[in-house]
Amino acid sequence: MILVVGTLPLEGVDLVWGRVEVQEKSIKIGGEEFPLGRGTAAMMAACAMVLDGDQLYGVTVGDIGTGEGSVKLYRFLAEEVPKLSPAVICFGYVMPNRTLHDAAFEAIQDMKPRPMLLADAGFMYVVKMSGKAPQYDLFTPDLGELAFLADDKSPHPFYTRGFIFHMTERVPELIKGAYETGGAAKVLLVKGERDYVCEDGEILEVIEEPKVPELEPIGGTGDTITGMTAALIDQGFSLVDAAARAARANRRAGELARPNPATQIEEIIHHIPRALEEVLK
């Protein structure tokens, strides 16, 4: 069982959890229907494209940035997740809160067997800030977020110092910095014009084909990589292999959608099954 954790950008939606089903323009979590779009919904939908319906569970809550919904998610993580025994937990859009993260992490850390822990977006930010990054299995940062992971003084990617110029040429240096300063999980999948798969400080694979530069402006293309990676890990692929295959499949799904910068993520998600079929051959 895999559990995807993240907020939805909706007001007045209380915490809901359960099986995830994807439809043409919506997603169902525990029987409740929500619009498909960037963020948690895209992450769950990409995951669902890999897995059979009965393996994928999601937990979500409405949060438009006040953090109130995120507090309920942290509580669920600390109190309920240990009873569910998922093999993989994939975290995404959650308001960073170190105190609440640390309480949830303590509960999850004690689970036997301990689930694989993947983090992206706001949850990755709080993991780094809490100093627990090396205890997580995989992070999926973009270049700006990598610079934040490599800067031990930065509390958020907004404050990353001095890395903005020529960042694409400095990726190996930033990867090294992230591992040396304790800002990296065991495995990193760095998403960008080139995707880098790294383990314990070493770059193992660089993926740059097919080239689809129009994916960068499209909100949600990072979420779909993370969702696919989580699902492939649940299917038995190693962290590194899952990350590399997800990166390739995401590029191929983007290529199949023939995108331009105005393309929306929903148009790409529906090409994931064919892209995965090619990548998993």
Binding site: G65, P155, H156, P261
Partner: protein, 178 residues
Amino acid sequence: MVLKGLFRRKREEQRGRALIIFQEVSQAIKAEKVLGEAGYEIRMVAPPPQFRKGCDLSVEFDLMEQLGVERALRQGGCEYLEVIPVSEEALSPLEICQRRDFGRWEMIKAANMKITYDKETYQIVNVSGGGCPDVPYLAWQMVGRKLHDAPSPKDLGHTVCAYALWRAWEEAKEGVGR
């Protein structure tokens, strides 16, 4: 003009700076507006480590102006936790925006946030990057609207990601003019 600014900054450094610490980023954004309108020279910076939760923003100002600043905050209805003196250089946000041309479309990037608009219609077509929960909400509210008609991320957002998106949006608007 530049030299005058440098001298003023030097004087402020000698007199000392102070930080206003907030419970929430949205309170810092409101304070920036109130203090800016009241004519104070301020800077948005990261709070010191002991005040950080992981998504935080604080306001730096000239320590000599503390009484006036606190009065302006009270009169503007701004809530804050405390005012502390700055003992070391505060971490500033990334100031520089980057542009990427996609032919008919242009993408503006500020720190970890990107906004893309149609150069012919000025319609916002995508918002990407970021990781705080209001990012998908802001994307939902802004995509499909024209740059100048879209709601401000400062008014709707609550996080540092929203603040970065506001910078990118302002840069995009400045680029196309009215």
